[in-house]
Amino acid sequence: MKTLTIVAGVLLVFVFVWERVDVVRLGYQIERLKTQKALLERERDQLQVKFSALMAPERIAKVATEKLGLVPPQQGQVLMVHQPGDIPGLSLPPVEQVRLASHISTGRVSE
């Protein structure tokens, strides 16, 4: 009985020590993961800033006009067309609707 108590006591001490060591180990692990998380968040933020800068309307307009040779639609070249059913008595096929604006255009827009 006495031996059993001693063995149990020693075991308890080991468990306690192991638990303390594990807490410290996990602490380091948490710290490492925290650092990793912070780095990833930083990278995400930097990418978001970059993305927003690339999506700036001013930049897109510049690329569209200077690199792709596009021009803004001239006066009267844009016509909003209702969906079939919105206008009584009008049922144009979808392709017709898309081409409608260019049909009536008088400017430089090509199809």
Binding site: S52, A53, L79, I87, L90
Partner: protein
């Protein structure tokens, strides 16, 4: 049994032990009692690290969630002069990376301090290079830096924040209490190698980021307004310019453009003159755009009707020993034509028919002489004198838009009131405030300020203002396929040298709304001191047309002739 010598040895031993214990006791008392505070602090310094955390500043985005301002962590570089052996060698290595002159760095590193900032919030690449250099006595810490990814877009509204993350101008200042992140100081335990040991209350150490703002502004409409304003200012060689686009039914600001622009990412070299939001800090004499307000008051008070006849005095009328001129020798005309042709004499007669008190009451009701209370800092109330301070000519002058100082924001609010059937809405820029988890903290709903004129008066005004665009001074504001209502304004500026009205310095403006029958936009275009032809109808009205047409296309507003054209296409 011999006792003597052993007893002597025992005493010696006892004495030595007592001495030993006394020394230990003395040392214990010294360490634990006398030097306790000092040593505890020293130990704390060695195995504890005090870290100041600051939550990131909240994000600002437009009405569609497009990011306009956000925080990113970037490196800041510091030095520990007391631990440097050769500041000049270190400075030589640092100079090309930080782009700071070597002698300036040496001066900082030779100070008798244990910590000096060398460069704050530098580019991430510079931080990486410094880490590679691994210089003793030089460290890098991460700090939040405010970025405005769209550059100058909406800069006058957004404002900017300072080096320590405090809002200094614009929304950054007005909403600083929401935007700034929480500050928290935490003590971390360190082991023998300096690593952080499992800190207590780990979750509590992450400070809460600031709240995010969602604006009423649409970045595409803002871009259209800024682009067209820049072009107009360049083309007319104007000193400055302003465009404000408002949703009349709510008072929500869709765009607020000011020229010259500035980049809030680089404000250090700029003067306040550059970042001032002229749309609400600068007043100007509005000139003929004020006739719109006088006309609305006259219709509401039934002093005039659209078809009332007014005599134009053939272009000259003497009031208080001064002569009022019209640009043409106008004879009899309807009240609608007074507005269409922008007759000064007709407006003066209308003002006189209203009388001082009634005119003043309507000017006040339309918001002149008081702040609109928009949620932006720096707004001024303009200048509107009380009738007791008016001179003999004031009634006529004010009816023509002189002797009164307004901001572009006040004037666009007035026109938006007519577009909204006579009900004035409070203008606003921020529509939502959310916390870091996206929970709604504050929602700004459209707020009615007051009804100023009846719906009938507003409708009659719309018809009269449409006449300005179809047959009057504002024909260049016409947008094909849409009914436009508006009013031109050309005001002489006061010459600061003579104190009299200048014959060369003007403010050209146009205010209006479109589509007139069901307005989606109310807009003002103001150009300060355009060179050459300065008439509002010549310089500002075309800008209104260009912005209006693009914005209506962007919003997908149908032309009024859509059905006709579409049906014609079908038959064809």
């Amino acid at each position: 049994m011999t006792v003597g010598p052993s007893r002597g040895r025992r005493y010696v031993m006892l004495f030595l032990l007592l001495c030993g214990f006394s020394v230990i006791l003395f040392r214990l008392v010294t360490l634990q009692v006398l030097q306790a505070a000092e040593l505890t602090a020293k130990a704390d310094r060695q195995h504890q690290k005090t870290v100041s955390f600051e939550g990131a500043r909240g994000m600002v985005s437009d009405r569609h969630g497009k990011v306009l301002a956000m925080n990113v962590e970037v490196p800041s570089v510091f030095g520990v002069p007391t631990s440097l052996e050769s500041p000049s060698t270190v400075a030589r290595h640092l100079s090309p990376v930080l782009h700071i002159r070597s002698d300036e760095l040496v001066r900082k590193l030779q100070q008798d301090k244990s910590f000096v900032w060398l460069a704050r919030k530098v580019e991430p690449e510079q931080g990486r290079l410094l880490e590679q250099l691994s210089l003793d006595g030089i460290g890098v810490v991460m700090e939040g830096r405010r970025f405005y990814p769209k550059g100058p877009l909406l800069a006058h509204v957004l404002g900017f924040s300072g080096m320590d993350g405090q809002g200094l101008e614009g929304l950054e200042r007005r909403y600083d209490s929401h935007l700034h992140g929480e500050k928290r100081v935490t003590v971390l335990q360190r082991d023998a190698l300096g690593r952080t040991v499992f800190p207590k209350g780990l979750a509590e150490q992450v400070p809460t980021p600031g709240h995010a703002l969602t604006l009423t502004v649409d970045e595409v409409i803002q871009y259209i307004a800024e682009k067209e304003l820049e072009e107009a200012v360049t083309h007319t060689r104007a000193k400055s310019g302003t465009i404000i686009v408002v949703e009349p039914q709510s008072g929500a600001i869709l765009a607020l453009a000011v020229s010259p622009r500035f980049d809030p990412n680089v404000v250090a070299a700029l003067t306040p003159d550059r970042w001032r939001n002229r749309a609400l800090t600068d007043t100007y004499e509005p000139g003929s755009t004020m006739k719109m307000v006088v006309a609305a008051a006259a219709l509401e008070e039934k002093v005039m009707a659209p078809d009332s006849m007014v005599f134009g005095e053939n272009g000259h009328m003497v009031i208080a020993n001064t002569t009022i001129h019209d640009h043409d020798k106008l004879g009899w005309m309807t009240f609608s034509e007074v507005i269409q042709k922008s007759s000064n004499i007709g407006a003066a007669k209308t003002g006189m028919a209203l009388g001082e008190q009634r005119l003043y009451r309507y000017l006040q009701a339309f918001g002149f002489g008081e702040r609109t209370d928009i949620d932006l800092p720096g707004e001024v109330s303009g200048l509107l004198k009380a009738p007791k301070d008016w001179g003999r000519r004031s009634l006529a002058s004010i009816s023509m838009g002189q002797e009164v100082g307004v901001t572009p924001l006040q004037m666009v609010s007035a026109v938006a009131t007519l577009a909204n059937g006579g009900v004035m809405m409070k203008p606003y820029v921020v529509s939502e405030v959310r916390d870091q988890k996206g929970r709604l903290l504050k929602e700004v709903l459209p707020q009615v300020k007051r009804r100023i004129v009846s719906q009938d008066t507003a409708r009659a005004m719309t018809t009269m203002l449409e006449g300005v665009v179809t047959n009057g001074t504002g024909t260049k504001a016409a947008i094909p396929g849409f009914r436009v209502a508006g009013k031109t304004g050309t005001a002489q500026k006061i010459d600061s040298r003579t104190g009299a009205y200048s014959s060369t310095q003007f403010v050209g403006s146009f205010v209006g709304y479109v589509p007139a029958e069901s307005p989606r936009l109310a807009m003002i275009v103001v150009l300060d001191e355009p060179q050459g032809e300065a008439w509002g109808g010549a310089v500002a009205a075309p800008v209104f047309r260009r912005v209006g047409e693009q914005v209506l296309n962007y919003l997908g507003v149908s032309r009024e002739d859509t059905v006709k054209i579409a049906l014609a296409m079908k038959d064809h």
